[in-house]
């Protein structure tokens, strides 16, 4: 699964996710990536989010929209909101990670697996890439 969140010069956010799904899946099983609110959500007033993980758990926890709701209704920071929702996923036995970017250019890339391929670029073009914990 791959994903991206972007903030343009007009202050607009966008988020996207794309995946090949799960090895050996049967019966037309679909994970969270194409589900708006679970694997992908974006609202200028809160943040843009793209997830990767054990789809069933990200759908049940409505991960991307719940993080935005915690920011909108409880005033959480992007780190607090992401951590709370990812901890709920972990508590149910699921795992994975996400990337989040808000309209002020704050960014986080939390995950509860051994690693996540991830990277970010600042407004002045500085690129950082990470793989392991």
């Amino acid at each position: 699964t791959v994903g991206c969140v972007a903030l343009d010069n007009a202050g607009n956010l966008a988020a996207g996710t794309s995946t090949g799904g799960m090895t050996n899946k049967k019966y037309g099983r679909v994970g969270d990536s194409p589900i708006i609110g679970a694997g992908t959500y974006c609202d200028n007033r809160t943040a843009g989010i793209s997830c990767t993980g054990w789809g069933e758990f990200f759908i049940r926890n409505v991960v991307a929209k719940t993080i935005c709701d915690l920011i909108a209704y409880k005033g959480y920071s992007i780190e607090q909101a992401s951590k709370e929702v990812l901890d709920n996923v972990g508590a149910m036995g699921g795992d994975g990670g996400l990337i989040i970017l808000d309209k002020n250019g704050n960014m986080a890339m939390p995950f509860n697996t051994e690693g996540m391929y991830r990277g970010a670029v600042t407004a002045d073009g500085k690129i950082e890439v990470q793989i392991y914990k």
């Binding site: 791959v2 991206c4 799904g21 589900i35 051994e114 970010a120 793989i131």
Partner: protein, 185 residues
């Protein structure tokens, strides 16, 4: 620091001890390319939706990642692809699921958002829509890679062992498979 673009290439059992130096370099280069492609759009005054599409195209076209070319295989040996996109300004959204002939699924999701009344389309219908919208349609073989095919064979072998174990166990096993080590491709 003000960030303007973030990407991920999947999470899971990614351990340094299992990674060769050349593989690590290849992943780092691919993520850097994706970031650069998206950043170039932003730097030139482009919209965030176009930046997201540009960055994800790089990752869908790179067989290292489980999306587009290099996607993992279903039990019956097909590549079923899913994608979604959302605009933070208008809260419009688009998604496709279970498609097998669309070269860049993120662009199909964008077309659903921009050029239809709908949010989500699946399977054959989504493929017909994508073709009518003029997107690049490929033979499903385009997505095939040896490494993922091997991954499927290993998963099926593991599955059959589990099926035997389940058969002997009291609890009725659920239908469907979740291959823990392969689930992120």
């Amino acid at each position: 620091k003000k960030y303007v673009l973030v990407v991920h290439g999947g999470a899971g059992t990614i351990l340094k001890k299992n990674m060769t130096a050349e593989k690590e370099k290849a992943y780092t280069e691919a993520l850097t390319q994706a970031l650069q492609a998206g950043y170039n759009v932003i730097k030139n005054g482009g919209a965030s939706l176009d930046a997201v599409e540009a960055a994800i195209h790089v990752l869908e076209d790179n067989p290292l990642f489980n999306a587009g070319k290099g996607a993992v295989f279903t039990h019956d040996g097909r590549n079923e692809l899913d994608a979604s996109i959302m605009d933070g300004k208008t809260l419009k959204a688009g998604a496709v699921a279970g498609v097998t002939t669309i070269r860049n699924p993120i662009t199909a999701a964008r077309a659903v958002m921009d050029r239809s009344e709908h949010v989500m389309m699946v399977g054959k219908g989504a493929e017909i829509f994508a073709k009518e919208a003029g997107l690049t349609i490929v033979d499903p073989k385009y997505f095939w890679t040896k490494e993922r095919w091997k991954g499927l064979q290993e998963a099926i072998k593991e599955d059959s062992v589990k099926a035997v174990l389940d058969h002997n166990s009291k609890t009725t096993s659920k239908l469907g498979t979740i291959n823990r080590d392969y689930k992120f491709g």
